[in-house]
Symmetry: C2
Subunit: 242 residues, 2 copies
Amino acid sequence: MNAFPLSSTQISDILGRLGYFRDLQQPSLRKLSADARQVTVRRDETVFAKGDPANSLYVVVNGQIKIFLPQANRAEKVVAMVGHGESFGIAALWLGLPHPANAIAKSDSHLLLIERDTLMNQARHDPLLAECLMADLSHRVMDLMHDMESCTPRSSIQRVSCFLLQHQPEAGIGGYDILLSTSKRDIAAKLNLTQETLSRMFQLLSKEGAIEVQGRLIRIVDSRKLLDFNQANCPPPGALPE
Amino acid sequence: MNAFPLSSTQISDILGRLGYFRDLQQPSLRKLSADARQVTVRRDETVFAKGDPANSLYVVVNGQIKIFLPQANRAEKVVAMVGHGESFGIAALWLGLPHPANAIAKSDSHLLLIERDTLMNQARHDPLLAECLMADLSHRVMDLMHDMESCTPRSSIQRVSCFLLQHQPEAGIGGYDILLSTSKRDIAAKLNLTQETLSRMFQLLSKEGAIEVQGRLIRIVDSRKLLDFNQANCPPPGALPE
DNA sequence: CGCGACTTTGAAGTAAATCAATGGGCGTGG
DNA sequence: CCACGCCCATTGATTTACTTCAAAGTCGCG
């Protein structure tokens, strides 16, 4: 994890274009940039580990960071994939607690680090910043809820169909495409499945004519069938209607 | 869900004593209380369902609310148990999104409802309130991460031991007591287990001398053994008699 | 005392993990 | 341009841990 010297105004520039802080005013941006630094991390490099103190907010300029919980048996539960313009590490930072998960780079990445005190002080002075952060945290909560929803059902076919349905652009019954944000191995880890099981489920859904799989591109052909798989108690067709 | 008329100052009083808003100044409290209302919900009554619009923040004065994701097969995933002085519904509220989960009363409860606009406006004016809300949301994120950690491991014995270890007061190896906040059925639903499996795991841990169970009181006798169960790839060879 | 809710116990079936090996895609280097 | 190695994905065979179904046992409370 190499520090990368950039002028404060350069950093302020980058920050301002990041969507995350899009609505912020110049003075606030400059304050945040004052002692911010940019770092580069290489693929597979650890940004922080579970239990590390949370001293700064991480904003992803480019690349991709994987947030995951380490588990026994070398398994891991993927919590989030963080990409361009998104941030991570805010909850632990705000409470002054150790990080609850690991963060490693899936590809070479550039990150901006904003110091804890700087952020908290500025949030106290700028309601707009506080609003940004609230919105970010709220999104995190909603994401985690969706995650729970897709990784807790008993059967794997439900987990997978739930996941695919969550990526539906609008509540409708048309078809749509999903480009997986990461490898199927990591998607499996997000759904609490093995890659083998995920593969088999994709296959099953393909055979049923619900989806088509081409590498990382999943084409949802018939979302109604997905709904059936999601709701039904799996195999017995029409077993328990109410 | 019956509305319960209380004067604004009464509500302000209650709010101020709630820990949640402990640090707030009087003027802020009064603003929030202005159009707040108190409602009573009876045991098993639904406060809101997944998909309902989020119009207000809920603060629990007394009683207990269960937040859970409905699943196929009548199963449910318990996300949180909310008790005295805690709040729920903030994430969806802040983003103007529908609630991601269901909320029902586990026992007769009194709730304070604060309107969305009131809360957001006041947060813009009072940095202290914004801080409170940030801290609350951060806690929610941390809780959800812990939840993930305890409900995702493959084996049920790991789920249970992880859960028990998370309630350890300090990082140490001494013994301690846990008073379950709700029924074992709901605890099982939180860990994504059936009540039967949870019961069997408690039994196993008791036989191993790691814990003692007396109703809702769990006495952790030897947390090191719990750690073993948590880390090991299930039963260490020979440690699990038939 | 007796009812209902919660919990425990038992027996059986199954879905998913595990282990193991093959196949495909892609970049590097010969 | 092909050959090689690496990583990711797929496929198959086996095992077992968990759910499910069913029933008995406990606890608390009117």
